[in-house]
Amino acid sequence: MTEEDTVWLHQAIQKLASRQAKFTDRAFWLALDEVVREQDQRHDQLGGEVDGRTWSPDRW
């Protein structure tokens, strides 16, 4: 998923959340956005670890 897609995803979730009249519905979409942030962070970390282990000088 490109960075552009990720920006769109956050904006779309926030917009949906703001359109919910019911407090608990708004809470759901906002919490989903938090998990998406967590997914992105974990993705970066795992990607970094894969790169790091693949290019370890010890294994050259």
């Binding site: 998923m1 897609d5 995803l9 779309a12 979730i13 917009k15 949906l16 359109r19 407090f23 608990t24 519905d25 708004r26 809470a27 759901f28 979409w29 906002l30 919490a31 989903l32 938090e34 998990v35 998406v36 967590e38 997914q39 992105d40 974990r42 993705h43 795992l46 990607g47 670890e49 894969v50 282990r53 693949t54 294994r59």
Partner: protein, 230 residues
Amino acid sequence: MNTLVLVSHPQIADSGTQEFLKASLPAENISWEHIESQTVLDVAYEQAQLRQADRIILQFPLYWYAAPAGLKQWEDTVLTRSFVYGDHRYPLAGKELGVVVTTGMPAEAFQRGGAEGLTLDAALAPLAAVAQRAKMTWLPTFAIHQFSYLDEPAKLRLVIAYQRYLTQQQPDSLKNRQAWFSDHLATMIAQLAEQDQSTGRLIEEAFKQKQTDLETLQDTLAMIKEQEDD
């Protein structure tokens, strides 16, 4: 999964926190009971409720480092020796027991050297011992500190954190969090206004794609680690 929420509060009608939590309950597979509202505790009924639940939640305000008297009375009446462990039958074995506790003091107070000088785990030790005796799985406690000081964003976060505590698979890992949201997305999309449903479906698709991407990365990493071990 069926979750039974047993609330103990001597003046529940005056409790904004309990009212908020009741309004936040998940829509399905939840049984909710206020202990002090029962004029006479029907032991057979209460025990049947416990038997049909997969996860049992005890919910109460902390009074002098313990649950209100109503919960102790419920324990002493309903959790009879023969029901919990008599004859080496353990009808509650394998069920999960969780506590939702509200406190008037902040989280920092509940540690050694803090204003209360006692951790919540220490205060709740007798309930954890009951869980152990009944061969139940004790869940990490869900504490709500100083509810009346929470601002709106914090209250919005509390709604879903509470719902997940009641119904999400433990432990509370990213994998289990993703699965919980994944399970709820279809219902939430169906509730959206018609013009928002296509956006809802695109969001679901993108979310699940991220979930799959993460799994792929985890598999790749596991493979690399395995090769390193060789």
